[in-house]
Each structure stands twice: as C-alpha cells, then as structure tokens.
Symmetry: C2
Subunit: 339 residues, 2 copies
C-alpha cells in the first residue's frame, strides 16, 4: 500500500468514526480502532497532509480532526460503496408501499418509510404531470350548461375540472368532442398532447367553436398546471431535533426551508436515476450549511416521473442513506408504473 493510498484510508477511517461517534477523531483513537499498520505519529503526519488538502479540519488546536465538506465529497466519490439494504429492510419497504391505494397514498407512504429508514428528513415529489402520458380523457355533461372534465395520467393521477359553457351540450357534439380529445391526447406525453389540442378546435364547425374552445382551454390549463408539478410531501422532521446542534445555525431556518416547496424542489435538484449527493454549499442553499441532500429520480426505465430524497447532517452514513434512497426510488417507480 502506497503512502497515498494509506492517506485515503485514513480519511475513510476518519469519516466513518466521526459519523459513528459525532466527535472529532484523534490519531490515537484511529490506530486503536482500525488496522492501519502504522503508528499514531505516522497518522499524525498523514492527517497534516489531509488538512493541507482541505479534506479535514480541526475545531481547535488541540482537538481531533473532522471531515470538511470537501472530505465528505471525496469519501462519497471514491472511498465508499453503496451498502446493500438488509432483507428485512427491503421487505419492509415493499410491503409498506404495496398497501397504498392511490398515488397520494404512495407518496405519503414513501415519505414515511424513507424517513424511518434513514432517520432523516424525507422529501418526495409527487409524480410530475408533464413527464407522464395521458391515459384517459373523459367529458361529461352536467346540469345547467356545465361540463365535467376528467384526466387520468399514466402515473395514476386524476385531475378534474368543471367548465361553464355558454349553452347545453348536445349528445352528438359531446361524443364527437370526447372522441377527438381522446384521439389527440391519449397515449401521448403531456407537453405533446398540449400541442395537439390546439389543432382540435379548428376541426369543429364554427358554430360549435366557442364551446369547444372553453373545454380545450381548460384542458390545456390542466396540462400546464404548474401548481401540481410543485407538490411535495415532507416527513420525518422530528429527526431534525435528533441531530440538533449539527447544523451551524439553528434548526429554525431548516424548518423554514422545509415549508417552502419551491426551495425543496430546488434541493432535490435535477433528476438522475442513481442517487446523487449534495454536500453543504453544493445544495445551493445558504441556510443549509452542515446539511447534505441525497436524492434520486424515480420512474420506469424510459420515463422519469419525479424525484425523492433525504436531508440530513453532512455527518451522515452516506452508503446506507444512498442505498435507502435508491431502493425506495426503485420501488416507487415500479409501483407507479404498474398502477
């Protein structure tokens, strides 16, 4: 083993010990708990080098070392491998999620299971409307010149709107309209379906266009509904209290951030199907010094639906957390693809 390799070994040991004990780790404790094959004096030299590289730091002169954000970054990138979940853990996720009755329920259960598994704050974005396809569109005439519009998406979400129109809709026109709407949208992704909708209006007789237009406009609104794309569920905030003093600031700004859904969506970040880790400033949120986010996209092979993840102290068990996030993402994706 080269000296360079041993230095990285030392870093790994420091991260692991610090995560376990929450206390700065010194050279002596290190040689006692790990088989490094050298003396504490050597470790001290290595530590000095690691500190020069900005990978670890000392809270004060005569204290042990603590990993820096950069140190965690290196640990995640090169020194750790994703831990496999235990059988019972995997079964727990599966049985718990399988019991869900609808999309909302899936999301809420995912949040709960993820929070319990990781002992951190769990964040799950609702399946995106814009990323799923249209499974069904239904138009129903109600009394008093009103129409009920129902859209069912491939992720199982159901959206409905009531449209006021200028006169009662005849049965012929109704079924004609229904047929063309279905033809233009079903099976297509939402953004494409939106485009096709615009063409539908022109295929109707001029006399019918006002009515058709109000229905189509409402449908377009449903498709472009930003609000529902922003929906997220949060759970396990009680865990914040557990790692209380860890965040440089108080937990208050963190709780505030968790209530701002826009902030949360930024935190989850861009979708990748493998778990991504953002540490400290990498989260792009100033009030989250001392915090890290582990996130992953979920969906089926060819279709990303949304993102989920956890928020915890930088001092977290990255391998375990990444495993949990990855596993839950896979199960959620599978369930929503089936349903």
């Amino acid at each position: 083993m080269s000296a360079e390799e041993r230095r990285l070994d030392v870093l790994r040991a420091i991260v692991e010990d610090y995560v376990a004990t929450q206390e700065p780790v010194g050279s002596r404790a290190l040689v006692e708990r790990h088989q490094l094959g050298v003396s504490s004096a050597t470790i001290r030299n290595d530590m000095a080098a690691l500190e020069d590289d900005g990978l670890i730091a000392q809270p004060h002169t005569s204290a042990g070392r603590v990993p820096t954000d950069k140190g965690y970054r290196l640990f995640v990138d090169r020194l750790s491998s994703v831990k496999a979940l235990s059988g019972p853990e995997r079964r727990a996720i599966e049985t718990f999620l399988t019991g869900a009755v609808d999309v909302d329920d899936v999301v809420q259960r995912s949040v709960k299971v993820l929070a319990q598994l990781t002992n951190q704050v769990a964040i799950v974005q609702y399946p995106s409307l814009t990323r799923s396809t249209v499974r069904h569109v239904e138009v129903v005439a109600l009394e008093n010149a009103r129409v009920l519009l129902v859209v069912i998406t491939s992720s199982g979400r159901v959206e409905q709107r009531i449209v006021e129109i200028e006169r009662t809709l005849g049965d012929d026109l109704l079924s004609d309209l229904r047929g063309r709407l279905v033809g233009a949208t079903v099976g297509r992704r939402i953004p494409e379906a939106s485009l096709r909708l615009a063409e539908v209006i022109d295929t109707f007789a001029p006399a019918d266009r006002p009515i058709v237009t109000s229905v189509v406009t409402t449908l377009t609104h449903v498709f472009s509904n930003e609000r529902s794309d922003e929906r997220v569920a949060v759970g396990g905030t009680a865990n914040l209290a557990r790692f209380g003093g860890d965040f440089d600031g108080a937990i208050r700004p963190v709780l505030e951030a968790l209530e701002e859904h826009v902030v949360l969506l930024k935190l989850l970040g861009e979708a990748t199907i493998d778990p991504t880790v953002r540490i400290g400033t990498e989260t792009g949120n100033d009030s989250l010094t001392g915090a890290a986010v582990v996130s992953s996209a979920y969906g089926s092979q060819d279709q990303v639906l949304a993102t989920l993840g956890t928020l915890g102290p930088t001092r977290m068990d990255y391998p375990a957390t990444m495993a949990a996030v990855g596993a839950v993402a896979r199960y959620v994706g599978r369930i929503l693809a089936d349903g």
Copy 2:
C-alpha cells in the same frame, strides 16, 4: 376595589408580563409596570395567596412567579377579552384566502395565514366528507367495461373512482342508474345518502343487479371514506424553534406528534364554533406539557365542516391567538359555503 379583585388583577398582570418578557415576574417589576396602587410588599402577600391557590408558581426560591396551567385557565376564562384583529390583518386574511382556486388551496392558504398571524404552529383539518351534502353524482362509461364515478360535495370536494364491472353498460341502464343515484343522494348529507343508496339496488331488474351493486358499493365506500376525513394540513413548524426551550421536553416529541395526523385530530378536539382553549394536560397529550391548543370549528351557520387551530406554548398571547383563530375560521367557513 376589593382585595380579592386586586389579586385577580395581579394574576392578570403576571400573565401579561410573563407572556411579554418570558421571564419570571417579581413583585417590584409588577408595581413599576402596572398601576396597582399598592406597594410591592402588598403584592408579595397577594402572590403568596395566588400561589396557595395553585395559580402561579416559583421556578426556585428566589425567583419571580410564573403562571401555572391553572392560572392560565383562569386568565382565559375570566380575565381576558378576545382582542379584535386590526384592519390590515383582517384584510390580509381576506385577500389571501380569496385567491384560492380549490378546496385544497383554501386549506393550504389557511394554514399559512394562520401560522403567520399567530407565529405558532397552525393546523387545519380538511372539510369533512361526512358533514357536507352531496352536490352532484356522475357516472361515466369508459372503455373495457369500466365506469368512472365522480362525486362532488357541497364543500367543493371532488372524489372519483374507477369501477370494474362484469360487462359493458348499456346507455339506457347507464342513464337510469345515474338518475336514481342522483335522486337518492343529491342534496342529502353523506350519512343519509349512504342509507338511501342501499335501497337503490332493489329497484333494478335482477339481471342488472350485479353491475349496479358494484357501482353502488364503490359509491358507499367513497361516502364512508375515513382516510379523507382524517386529512389535516400543518404549517408554521418553524415557529416551534422560536419558543424552543419552552416545552418541558425537547421539541422532538412535538414534531413527532405533528406528523401523526390522528394525534392532531384529537388535539383539535370536538367542534365548537367559538374558539376553545386547551392548556397543558387539557390537550390530553402527555408529550405536550407546556403547550396549549386554540381551536375552532368552521363552516356555515347550520353546518360544521371541520376544525382548525393553532398549537403554541402555554405562554402565548391568548386574546390575540383566539381572535386570529376565530377570524380565519369565519373566513374559511364563508368561502367554502360560497364556493
């Protein structure tokens, strides 16, 4: 002013000062800040009497006095009057809530406004299904022997289910079924509508009964949906950090309680249209020593829809909180009654 009256005046002053300063209040500070017309020695005697009655307590021998739960109770019952909201506050509630687009939005906005107004944790229960009436029922035939069932309630909530039936539904039967379902349910309260539904099945020809039964059964399920009756929204948890050390325990058990919706519903308690206050053990929750709940039912005059309220430290501004809870409840009730 009798001696007895002055004692209650002293209690009121202690509560007000303690709420304002968060520090035990002594006899000297009391005579300085209030026009009590007697010396600090007299106040000391009064305080000793109040302490004998269990209305105030000393953290330690040489400290000032702090109100006990019993003291707050007396204060709320006899010594305070509900503070009127300021004009800007009332206008803020109104404009903020008026912008809501649907029931979910109303609830979410209410939580936000209530949390901001009171600087406490806000809890809003979604309008109860069982307490509202049926506004509309719609049955739509989908492809592949499936039927879409839509229910719209008086509170504006829309529920939908897809029912698998054994064979495709003829147009005649469909409109017949729709008509009878509407006749049996629309305009009635959900529990009563449920009862009527049972009779509908028998009015159909035996051959049609299997299909009718599956639809009616599903509809009954929607009506008796307990899950949606349990839904609550929580906001302002960041305020917990503000009154941090106030709760006897840590904030952790409180955060945990806030994630358990069942616990929250118990906290909101039985519905009364005027703001109710529960202090300390009165909340019926052991982990909430040091906390108080102010809650109120909302709805129209003759119809209670659900409950909302706030959770804060016993050391809170009761008059202001009760005013805010009452005002938000009134506005929410009005908006949902109109919508």
